[in-house]
Amino acid sequence: MANDIAAFFDGESDKALAAEGVRFHISRFWEPRMRREIIAHVQKGGAGLSATARSGIEKLAPVA
């Protein structure tokens, strides 16, 4: 799903904006435990994530 979100924002030529789009979307719509899990996945290497997805998730605020 994170890759699908990133695929939409990859229409943005500015990669920083694309990553921000991913970050914003996930922070607005993903429940905290889902965000916690994806952040943990990225911290363990983020296997399977696209570059944009990874960049956006790395910008997510930590979840308590």
Binding site: M1, D4, I5, A7, F8, D10, G11, E12, S13, H25, R28, F29, W30, E31, P32, R33, M34
Partner: protein, 950 residues
């Protein structure tokens, strides 16, 4: 036969400048173009009539409505004669009476007084009595009329046609043409041989008749009459205006009550959404509300393998509350959640989400819009600023070009489709974008100029190609875009869409639609001058559903087709209150009015009113709830009025999740697939049993009024209140109007909404507040809700669901007219006469390649599962595409749909599933078991036990 106490004005309203005339000495002022008949009726000087009725154009055949006009010779028909300034009309005179008596006597010779089951409801017999006509001097004279020898047609389950009572006034034929647009009826023969015929003189049920009931309502005698009215054998004592509980058109209906039971539903002529029309479902299929399958007693059980036990309301509510508390204590606050119903009222939906947020203390609330129009909310909010359609239905009468994308309005929104067809017959052009040749592509007096018959899953490629034509051929409305849209986003989008990868020529290979068809459609849409887009779940239920909605908004903005009548972007919402349930804050990330839970000011407002701390993080969506249930962190659910186990995709996954819950509380009117996994069953109430409001696809808030007392003793909102109180969060309302007052206090788009104002205006389209005190028919007038419209780059990303040698066909799904959604209501009505099972539509080429004949059983297999359906061979679908409906649980349509979903909203990709189809000998074993055994219910078991004991 009209609704009780309806005053038929004879001919439709006109809209010209005021004209003043005299009628029987009284001064009357009406718009120019009004008929004398209508003007006289408005002045309470009704002129007798038989072939005229105010939903149909004048016909002038019966010769009963004659009047005298000073200075004019003869006795003109008042229905065909327009008023003129200074005109002096007499509606009564000796000469007129003699003429009317003569005509009526001729009619009575064919339809004797006393023939009708109820003379008081027969306009002819009523007029005969008024004019002192008992027997006709011409009765018994030999005639060659064949129609009086025809047997009564009882084929339609809801009404019968008795030729003996027909006076061949043609009202029914004209109603079928003008109101419904089906043209199923005609007058065959000439002179005394004239008779009404359905299609090729077939029984109604076998004809093209869609059973909308327009002919029945138009009929001035008892020739066409509802069987329920005949059975009632008495006049209704009560008539209650309410709103239909089927689709998102939200027809206003009058429920007539005879001896405590609903004897008839009649379209409300004052209904702004439906303009006095209805369909087979709303008009006739209300019997489910009192069906014997209704669950009327609360039920509980410890385990889903136990038998249900009938208990009191207090015990059931107490058990549910104690279980939810236990689960939260053990697994955490967020281990439970709720689903609001798109069938229940705004007030009830508001209370369920309030219960979840305030009593449960979590934002784990969602709604069935998740699986249908959640991409609409996302896409239109981002581009235009509001999560709703932009127009009211009557706006279509001002459209010059109509584009229908991923919808079949004649099947899913039939009353609106009738309005659309009227506009198309009057000259509007039509573009259809759909994998199927939906009926709208070619039907009576309607034909699409362009049918973009695309492959499922290629919507975004097509919308980009349409936009490519607009941008590269100089069809952008530059002034409009400059004034109303963000410059930067427009320039970025323009550059993107102009890329050759988005050209029709490039997209042809992807979509299967020829480039010249795409170009023609784009040029037609852009040329308007008023072009309107209507779309349905064929847009949203895709992995790029939200992207497609944004693409539609982009196209509308670029061509200047937003912000006035006759244009717009109109999502055809499927359910009676799915718009309302979204408006009421049923999404896990938004409060009522589409404001994010993280917005501190909004949250503070709710906390202040609700006197409780609220979470500021989004909760779980329905698919996430299933995932969390399977991983053991989500253990309890309260589901009101939704059958997730039938309606959600990938049934095996859903049922596995539901099975893992420790407490599933269902609130519904029937046992259903989801109830098989429930621990508490709270009997719900139908729309006839409660007060409240629904909001239709036009954002129109209409009243739902109680007609009968709740069969289970409580309306749905009262159940939620009790549950909340049992959980320790007090709720105290004495009437749904108080809930609406709370909604209005908390929601800026609803601040002006009150029950009094709804009663006064008939209905209100939100926003309704200080800026728009009587509501907002057309959105984004002058500027968009977000200020400037924003364009979004909508790159086509193919779905991961692809055909292969193993699954070479693409399955898409939809609805049929006579059934509704999962069929919980319509399967329990006589609508099964038209559609008693879901069938798989397959193209003749694909069928032949597989040795399949019409009516064969076929196995349909996807990577998610398999099921068996009976086949219908048709070229409505293209080669490589198959189609089915999902109204019957036995069909198992969602056993084969997958977990793919929209990237933004998780709306399931129901419309694209790769399948293989092979001929089989019989249904699957589980289907045969199901067909052999009715759903387990205490009522059924009691019947069986009684029978066994007899």
């Amino acid at each position: 036969m009209h609704a009780k106490d309806y005053h038929d004005l004879g001919t439709p309203a006109a809209g010209g400048e005021s004209v003043t005339l005299q009628i029987d000495g009284a001064t009357v002022t009406v718009p120019a173009g009004t008929s004398i008949m209508r003007a006289a009726a408005l002045a309470d000087r009704d002129v007798p009539k038989l072939c005229a009725t105010d939903t149909l154009r004048h016909f002038g055949s019966c010769r009963v409505c004659l009047v005298e006009i000073e200075g004019r010779r003869g006795f003109p028909a008042s229905c065909t004669t327009e008023v003129a300034a200074g005109m002096k009309v007499r509606t009564q005179s000796e000469a007129l009476t003699n003429l009317r008596r003569g005509v009526l006597e001729l009619y009575v010779s064919e339809h004797p007084v006393g023939s009708c089951p109820d003379s008081s409801r027969c306009e002819l017999e009523h007029l005969a009595e008024e004019h002192g006509i008992g027997e006709s001097r011409f009765a018994g004279a030999k005639t060659a009329r064949s129609h009086t020898h025809k047997p009564v047609d009882h084929s339609n389950p809801y009404f019968r046609f008795d030729n003996d009572l027909c006076i061949v006034c043609s009202r029914c034929v004209r109603a079928c043409e003008e109101t419904q647009g089906t043209y199923a009826l005609t007058i065959q023969g000439r002179g005394l041989d004239s008779s009404v015929a359905a299609s090729q003189d077939q029984p109604f049920l076998e004809s093209e008749c869609v059973s909308c009931g327009a002919c029945v309502e138009a009929c001035p005698t008892g020739a066409l009459m509802e069987k329920s009215v005949i059975a009632a054998a008495a006049l209704p004592q009560q008539a209650v205006a309410t709103t239909c509980a089927y689709c998102g058109v939200g027809c206003s209906l009058i429920a007539e009550v005879t001896d405590g039971a609903v004897s008839r539903m009649v379209p409300n002529r004052n209904g702004r959404a439906n303009q006095g029309h209805a369909c087979v479902k709303g008009r006739f299929a209300y019997g489910y509300a009192t069906h014997q399958d209704r669950v009327t007693k609360p039920l509980i059980r410890k385990s889903i393998t136990d038998e249900w036990r009938e208990v009191s309301w207090d015990e059931a509510i107490g058990y549910a509350a104690s279980e939810f508390k236990r689960i939260q204590a053990r697994y955490g606050r967020d281990s439970i959640g709720g689903i609001t119903s798109s069938r229940c009222t705004n007030e009830e939906t508001f209370l369920v989400q309030k219960l979840v947020r305030a009593a449960f203390g979590t934002n784990n609330v969602d709604t069935c819009a998740r699986v249908c129009h959640s991409p609409t909310g996302y896409g239109l909010k981002h581009t235009l600023g509001e999560s709703a359609g932009t127009q009211e239905f009557v706006s279509v009468q001002h459209a010059d070009v109509i584009m229908v994308i991923g919808a079949s309005p004649t099947e899913a929104h039939p009353v609106f489709a009738s309005q659309m067809k009227r506009r198309l017959r009057n000259g509007a052009r039509l573009i259809v974008v759909d994998p199927r040749a939906i009926p709208l592509v070619k039907s009576a007096h309607v034909e699409a100029d362009f049918h973009l018959r695309l492959l499922p899953g290629t919507n975004v490629a097509i919308i980009n190609a349409l936009a490519h034509v607009v941008v590269t051929e100089g069809l952008v409305k530059e002034d409009y875009v400059a004034a109303r849209c963000e410059k930067d986003s427009f320039e970025k989008w323009k550059k993107f869409v102009a890329d050759p990868v988005n050209s029709p020529e490039a997209v042809e290979a992807i979509s299967g639609v020829k480039a010249e068809v795409i170009r023609g459609a784009a040029r037609l849409y852009a040329s308007g001058p008023n072009s309107a887009i209507y779309y349905g779940l064929g847009v949203t239920e895709h992995s790029q559903g939200s992207t497609m909605v944004m693409g539609i908004a982009n196209l509308a903005m670029a061509t200047g087709n937003l912000g006035r009548e006759g244009v717009g972007v109109s999502p055809l919402r499927g359910q009676n209150n799915v718009q309302g349930s979204c408006d009421m804050g049923s999404f896990p990330h938004e409060f009522a009015g589409y404001r994010h839970v993280s917005d501190d000011a909004t949250r503070a407002l709710f906390e202040s009113m609700w006197k409780v701390h609220l979470q500021n993080e989004p909760g779980l969506r329905i698919p996430n709830m299933f995932e969390a249930a399977l991983d053991g962190s989500f253990k309890g659910m309260y589901i009101q009025g939704e059958d997730l186990a039938q309606s959600d995709p990938n049934t095996s996954h859903v049922t596995a999740a539901l099975s893992s819950l420790e407490c599933l509380v269902i609130q519904d009117i029937f046992h259903n697939e989801t109830a098989k996994f429930a621990h508490v069953f709270l009997p719900g109430s139908s729309f006839l049993e409660k007060d409240g409001t629904f909001t239709n696809a036009e954002r129109r808030i209409s009243r739902v009024r109680k007609v009968i007392e709740p069969l289970a003793g409580l309306a749905d909102w009262e159940v939620t209140v009790r549950l909340s109180n049992a959980l320790g969060y007090p709720m105290n309302y004495s009437h749904p109007a108080e809930i609406m007052a709370e909604i209005a206090a908390l929601t800026p788009t609803f601040t002006g909404v009150t029950y009094e104002k709804i009663d006064q205006l008939g209905s209100i389209q939100w926003p309704c507040n200080d800026k728009a005190p009587v509501g907002t028919p057309t959105m984004h007038v002058g500027q968009f809700v977000r200020g400037k419209g924003k364009f979004y780059v909508t790159a086509y990303v193919p779905t991961s669901e692809r055909t292969s040698s193993k699954y070479p066909l693409l399955l898409t799904t939809g609805r049929i007219l006579s059934q509704y959604n999962v069929g919980a209501q319509t399967r329990r009505t006589s609508n099964v006469a038209w559609h008693s099972e879901d069938r798989l539509e397959i193209h003749p080429h694909d069928a032949e390649a597989r040795g399949i004949d019409h009516g064969d059983w076929v196995g349909v297999t996807s990577r998610a599962g398999d099921t068996v359906l009976r086949v219908e061979i048709t070229d409505r679908v293209a080669p490589g595409v198959v189609y089915t409906t999902f109204h019957f649980p036995e069909s198992g349509a969602n056993l084969i749909t997958t977990e793919n979903s929209d990237w933004a909203t998780n709306c399931p990709e129901y419309k694209v599933t790769a399948v293989q189809v092979v001929k089989v000998a019989q249904p699957a074993a589980w289907q045969m078991r199901r067909q052999a055994a009715l759903p387990a219910s205490p009522r059924k078991r009691r019947r069986e036990e009684t029978t066994i004991g007899d």
